[in-house]
Symmetry: C2
């Protein structure tokens, strides 16, 4: 039985779901994969719970309780200043970055320097300028399945194609459940402004919906796919269409939500034009070895992308071997359970390969 000592960097929705899954799947993971996952540190912005031999079950349960009731870890006894996490960085330890923070890169690099493995749910380190990000793509002990399509085996499939010497020619798909929902609403002739407000009320968008509407989150996924495929693209190689005009960028959220009615007509017209040509609007990302595009695209109604409903994601790999009909992975591309499960899969796979 191989023991994997695990650091949770970030302990919100994904972190706490992952911890619950680790506790619930202990026997399965031991019997199927031959590994035992031992949480040694839980960290959020308020501090860290740390025990090099493994945190006691009661501490783990208390931490789950704290998150469930909206408290930070500092509310628990024994919490240490966040910097204490550095003492946990030892060879054989895996650090999982479960944050969405732009500030984790130094600790991630320190972890690699210390001989740790890394599992990233955080897209930002991988979507940084290539010269900063490349270490994460090139280091053998880094995994990032859930940064694209959550728990869907998108990166695993890409790696399988690459490992067996296939030549990837293009990767295309719908990579945002939020924008998928928006497209479905537009299709039902819901005005753009109502669809955006409703998506926000349902919690499908970030509190500031411009973070989704800008397309930057999809662009990051496209960049991560391209870089995983071996194409060292940068942000400037991607043409990204924002779903709101630049002049609305400086407004407050409330002002923004009030201002977007003026966009209703434009999007209704685009939808109608697409429809009259047998098409439907989808927020599509496409990358090739040289460049990429991310934007609202008319696709045939009777195509796989046209048939997507609501928050489903879709990833198509066009390769030398899958040239006429692509290899496609689809399903829900967000959600805490599937995201945590994807992180768990990476931990198991990395832990197993680390035995070598």
């Amino acid at each position: 039985m191989h023991e994997i000592r695990l650091i949770f960097l970030g302990f919100g929705n994904v972190g706490s779901t992952l911890l619950r899954q680790v506790l619930e799947t202990r026997e399965t993971v031991a019997s199927r994969a031959g590994v035992q996952i031992v949480p040694i540190a839980l960290a959020d912005i308020s501090g860290v719970l740390y025990n090099a031999q493994g945190l006691p079950e009661e501490t783990l349960r208390a931490a789950l309780q704290a998150v469930a009731s909206g408290r930070l870890l500092e509310s628990l006894p024994g919490v240490l200043p966040l910097d204490a996490i550095r003492s946990a960085l030892q060879p054989g330890v895996i650090l999982a970055d479960l944050t969405a923070s732009p500030h984790t890169v130094p600790i991630l690099k320190a972890a690699l320097d210390a001989g740790c493995g890394l599992v990233l749910a955080n897209k930002l380190p991988l979507a940084a300028p290539w010269e900063e990000a490349r270490i994460f793509f090139e280091h053998p002990k880094v995994r990032w399945e859930v940064t694209v399509g959550a728990g869907l085996p998108v990166i695993a499939t890409l790696n399988y194609l690459l490992d067996t010497g296939d030549q990837i020619t293009a990767i295309e798909g719908c990579m945002s459940g939020t924008l998928g929902y928006l497209c479905s609403e537009l299709e039902q002739e819901v005005p753009y402004s109502s669809a955006v407000r409703r998506a926000r009320e349902l919690g499908y968008t970030e509190p500031d919906p411009r973070e989704d509407l800008s397309g930057m989150d999809v662009a990051r996924k496209a960049l991560i796919l391209a870089r995983t495929a071996g194409w060292p693209l940068d942000q400037e190689n991607l043409a990204v269409e924002s779903l709101y005009p630049r002049e609305l960028a400086s407004l407050t959220v409330d002002e923004f939500l009030a201002a977007i009615e003026r966009l209703d007509e434009e999007y209704a017209a685009r939808r109608a034009r697409a429809w009259n040509e047998g098409n439907i609007l989808r927020y599509v990302a496409r990358v090739t070895p040289q460049a990429g595009m991310v934007g609202l695209t008319p696709v045939p109604r009777e195509s796989a992308l046209g048939m997507l409903r609501g928050p489903g994601n879709h990833f198509a790999f066009y390769t030398a071997r899958y040239n006429e009909i692509p290899l496609v992975i689809c399903g829900p591309g967000a959600g805490r359970e599937v995201t945590a499960a994807g992180v768990l899969g990476d931990i198991i796979e990395l832990g197993r390969s680390d035995i070598r």
Copy 2:
């Protein structure tokens, strides 16, 4: 660099394509996966070429040449009686069963006894009665990705779901390119008999098309999926609909092809009935923990299965975590290049894990 010594059991379309891929992808596989694949034996029904240290490049090239010109290995110098393959069974060796033969089980068991790994492209050992087949599902050194969906990562995805403790509730899909083609033809109002004859002429069916039309090949795939999911089903747990009546089973192929016009009306009527209800006919397989069904099924035209065209395969996993929207893998489920690539992926994965 880890060396994998490989035995090719079967050296027809898939075997020769695999050998070509092994030779062409040497550098990629070495740099990405850290393994080197060394072919030590090639076997077909006529004999075996064997060298424990690795067959020389010129022998491998000559064997590829022989297959390309329709000759058996016995046409080459140095070929040994088939039984010589047993001397090649050593710990650390991987044997790939690239046949479609029901007679390989003894050598497969001998290989496991000798400490070899096994990669199966041959469905038959896995679809045998459970008590005979279980050793292949339960042994840690056996892989069988391409027995379902060829190179599509169907088994890999199922294993990922299981490894991370998800609960599979059902697996459903269209698992035969041949019957997919037939359904597409019926949909175009091509008579059943013409569609069958045309599929045979195009080489989509076996020389005796009843082997496809019986549904047994799909039933084997369904059984393999169920067993991989941990459900020890047997043939009698599957309801399988044959696409020809039992009384045509004893005819010769020519008699059969002449006799099937009498079925045209029945299938045209089934197609029309489905169409009038907004449906389309698909040859669908579905397995759950208790049982399975395989047969011609009306599905909504505007569904993922309804949208499938021609030889595309489709696999949907319904699980505790993927319950409303399933996790779906689709793409071409046959073809020598993608099949060989899937075998190569299994060899790499097994070789890597064998290092432990």
